[in-house]
Each structure stands twice: as structure tokens, then as C-alpha cells.
Amino acid sequence: MQRDAITPFQGFGIGLRPPHYDAFLAAPQPVDFVEVISENFMVDGGRPLDVLARVRGQYPVALHGVSLNIGAVDGIDVGYVRRLRQLVDRVDPLWVSDHLCWTGVDGFNSHDLLPLPYSEEALAVVCTNIDRVQDILGRALLLENPSTYIAFPGMAMTEAAFLSAMCQATGCHLLLDVNNIYVSAINHGFDTAQWFVDLPWERVRQVHLAGHSQGEHMLIDTHDAPVPAAVWDLYARACEYMGDVATMIERDDHIPPLPELLAEVAAARTIAGGTACHRSTRAA
């Protein structure tokens, strides 16, 4: 099946959410792209599609989904993916992403990003599903590393090794959520240094930066706080590995005034720029 390659793109942006629609439609904002939640625009008509068309007229747009259910043992929901394809055709996005997770089985849909065991069986299921989705969309997918609260014991692979095998088998790319690495590493006590060594960095096309909160027993990926220092530090280390990759600030709850998010975008630019200088100095 013919699949369109992902056009190279670097830049800095935000996840565009309803509280900031008016600001983006009223005046140019200092971002290079925006990301939107696909399902919010997989609708028949009305204001959502009107807003998206007007935003798309001014900015490159990435589509980020939450309902693909790529780890489903039942296989993909073809109706959902065809509807996603309609949105893709309408928007011509930079790329289409979703999460390495499953969301339901036997018709049940939890609407949550549930953890997969990193087993050979799960890898086979995920790769089969990715192949089908990429065939229907006619393009390669980006899959995001999840934040998890359960680590199934005795798994065949680490998360990074699973991601690497998945990319190799399907040709998909990665959306690297730096906060998710941090949250999962703290929750499960793994070493981010080894995670970094195992990751196929050449497959990373986008980065998410977000905040989290402290739950009763573990960190929770709540996307309701500024990017914390530990995640900025991890991002700086990731920049050393991956070079220039499109990066965005993701906030889904307690959404602050736009200038606060734009300040975080500027901070990401500074860190990535500094790392690029460092890389070029080392190369020279």
C-alpha cells in the first residue's frame, strides 16, 4: 500500500484547546505549529470544523488522537479510522499521532489510555493494527510513549525496546512525551539513561512537554501544571540525542492564559537552541 512520507518539520508549538481559540483567530501567535485532539474535530459540522479550518489557514496542524486503540486484541475500529481519514483529508496535517496503549475490548471503550504488557504477543497485535491503520490513512503514524501506573512483571522487553521493535516492523514514527518518560520512570523505578540508550531516536518526529501531579502513591500524568524542572532537564538530555524535533507544550486541565504557555514554548526554544549550539560545537 502506498504511504506518504512525513515531510520533515521542525518548530515549536502548543496543543490548541478551546480557551485559546479566540486568541489564535484574532492575531498571529509566536508558534510554528499547533496540535489538536483529532476526536474533537471528527464531527459532522458546526463551530469545531469552522475553527479548525481558520486555524489551519494560518498554522501547520498536527492531529493527535486518543481513541485509536492500537493495542486492541479485537483489531482496529475501521469505522473510526475511516472517519479519521476524512479529517486527515480535510486538514492535510503535518502528521497523525496516537498513543501506545489500548482503550477497550469486546466493544467496551474506557476512554482511557490503558497499559500494554511489553510482550511478543502485544507487539504482534500492535504491529498488525498499525499496518492496517497506516494502510487506511495512506501515511505513517506517530505513536506516543505512554505514562503508566502498572508495570506487568516479567515482560519480554523494556518499553524502549518495544518501541524500537514496533518502529522497525511497521515503519511508524514516535511522538516522544518527555513527561511520560519521567512519570513512568519514577512510578516504576527504571533508569531513564538506559531508556534513552534503547530508544530509536531517528524515528522521533515530535516531542510533548507537560506537567504532572503527585498522587497518593505515584505520579499522575495530569497535564494540569507547568512543565517541571525535572522534565525540562530530561528534555535537554533528549535534545542531545535527537537533534531538531518539533516540540510542543501540552496542557489539558487548569489551562492557563496563553502568555504562560507561550513562555514555556520560548523556554523549549532556548533549551533546544542551546543544545544545538552544543552539538555543533562538539561536531566542530
Partner: protein
């Protein structure tokens, strides 16, 4: 034979066990810790409840947070979601409230209004017919096509007034007046969702129109119910109202 996970559980078994636990079953999935599963269970329930709170915003204001959350908790337990979109999750909540509050029709009717406005918000686009295009129309034979977002129902409460009062931060009247219209319609004009009360005669006209009756046939039926003279006045005003408010998308 599919490869097994630790403790002999394959991926399908794990996903079924996990899903069952989210929906209230006791056993933990193999390998899962209580602390970890608690995070997922909390996220599952709180997201569904938040979805209902946002979709049925005025209903929640009307009956209060405690009563609303109690109804939502029961609904979530009885109605695990199946659609790919959370937008569909509240589909049965109006009926659930009707059942839970049988002596308070205002509750279910407010929920219907919340739900129908939400559906109209992102419903299909179809441009209203332009007034300027309505020349040389044989109105006796004309068949009207309505906006695809248009819905209507009979009501027992002053639900439209209650909704508007809450939207304007006013204290709503709790009892219907003698002039409270017994029907309510919802639609979208351009990008703007709208609702309006209407007399029962108009609801009957909409019933006929959407079954394919011509405007002439609608007028004849109206005359049978209201008398010739009143029917002429009512039909003209009703048609003008439908056209001005973007409810009609085609006249053929």
C-alpha cells in the same frame, strides 16, 4: 497457541480482566497492583462523570451537584461506554433522569435540551435557504426541507424559561404559567445553536412537514384544527419564523 503472559494470562484475558475491574468487578488483573489499578479506575469514572457534567451543565445546576453526581454514578455503573467518541456517552442520560425523577418532568426536559443543544453544536452543516431565492414558489405544492440539526418535542414544564434564566444567572420560576408553550424546538442557525418554545399546533405542522407533506397540506390540516381564518394567519407567521431563523434549508 498464543504466547502466554506471566501467570498464564494472554493479552485478551488481561484486557477483559482489566475492563471488568474498571467497571466494578473485584479481582485485580494479573500482575496489577491495587495502587496502579486505583489510578485507572479513578480516571475512568471521573472522566465519564466530567463528560456528563459538561454535557448536562444546566441540568446539573438545576438539581444540584450532589443529586446530579448520584444520578451520574448510577448511570456510569449501568452504562459502560461503547462508542469511540465521548460525545455519545450521554445518549441515554435523559431517559435515566426521566426514570429517576418521574414526578419532575423539568429535570428530564432540561436534560433533553442540554443534550440536543450539544448535538446541534457539532451537527451537520446545511445553509438555510435564502429569502431572495423564494420567488415564484407555489406554496400550496411546496415541500420544505429543514436544517439537519432540528429536533422538537412536547414538554410539560417551562423548561425553556428555566434554561434561559440559569444562562443569565437569574433565579428561574419553578412553576409553569398558563401561557407556557407545550412544545420546544432546537436547531442551529449558521454556527449558533438555538431553541424556542412553540405551540402544539406548530409541533404538529413540523411533524407533517418532515413526513413530506406540502405546505398546502399542512395549512389544510391546520385549518381543520384552528379554523380557516386563524390557520391563514398562523401558517404565514410560522413560515416566516422558520425562514427568518434559518430552519429551512430547501423549498422544492
Amino acid at each position: 497457541m498464543p504466547p502466554k503472559h506471566p501467570r498464564g494470562m494472554n493479552l485478551r484475558d488481561m484486557q477483559r480482566s482489566f475492563s471488568a475491574h474498571l467497571q466494578g468487578a473485584d479481582p485485580l488483573p494479573a500482575g496489577a497492583t491495587p495502587e496502579g489499578m486505583a489510578v485507572y479506575t479513578h480516571a475512568y469514572r471521573s472522566q465519564l462523570k466530567q463528560c456528563l457534567r459538561e454535557t448536562f451543565e444546566k441540568t446539573r445546576l438545576w438539581i444540584g451537584d450532589a443529586a446530579f453526581d448520584e444520578a451520574a454514578d448510577v448511570y456510569i455503573r449501568l452504562h459502560p461506554p461503547h462508542a469511540w467518541t465521548l460525545d455519545a456517552y450521554g445518549d441515554g442520560f435523559t431517559a435515566h433522569l426521566d426514570h429517576a425523577w418521574p414526578r419532575d418532568p423539568d429535570v428530564g426536559e432540561l436534560a433533553w435540551l442540554d443534550w440536543t443543544l450539544r448535538r446541534a453544536f457539532a451537527g451537520p452543516d446545511q445553509a438555510p435557504v435564502a429569502m431572495a431565492a423564494l420567488v415564484n414558489i407555489d406554496w400550496d405544492q411546496a415541500v420544505l426541507t429543514f436544517a439537519p440539526t432540528l429536533r422538537w418535542r412536547h414538554v410539560q414544564s417551562n423548561v425553556a424559561a428555566i434554561w434561559r434564566a440559569m444562562d443569565e444567572d437569574r433565579i428561574p420560576s419553578t412553576s409553569p404559567t398558563e401561557t407556557t408553550p407545550p412544545a420546544l424546538r432546537v436547531w442551529r442557525h449558521g454556527l449558533s445553536t438555538r431553541f424556542a418554545s412553540m405551540p402544539v399546533e406548530e409541533a404538529t405542522c413540523l411533524d407533517l412537514a418532515t413526513m413530506g407533506a406540502s405546505f398546502g397540506e399542512i395549512c389544510i390540516d391546520l385549518a381543520r384544527r384552528t379554523g380557516e381564518e386563524a390557520a391563514t394567519t398562523v401558517a404565514g407567521a410560522m413560515l416566516g419564523d422558520w425562514l427568518r431563523n434559518g430552519m429551512v434549508v430547501a423549498v422544492a
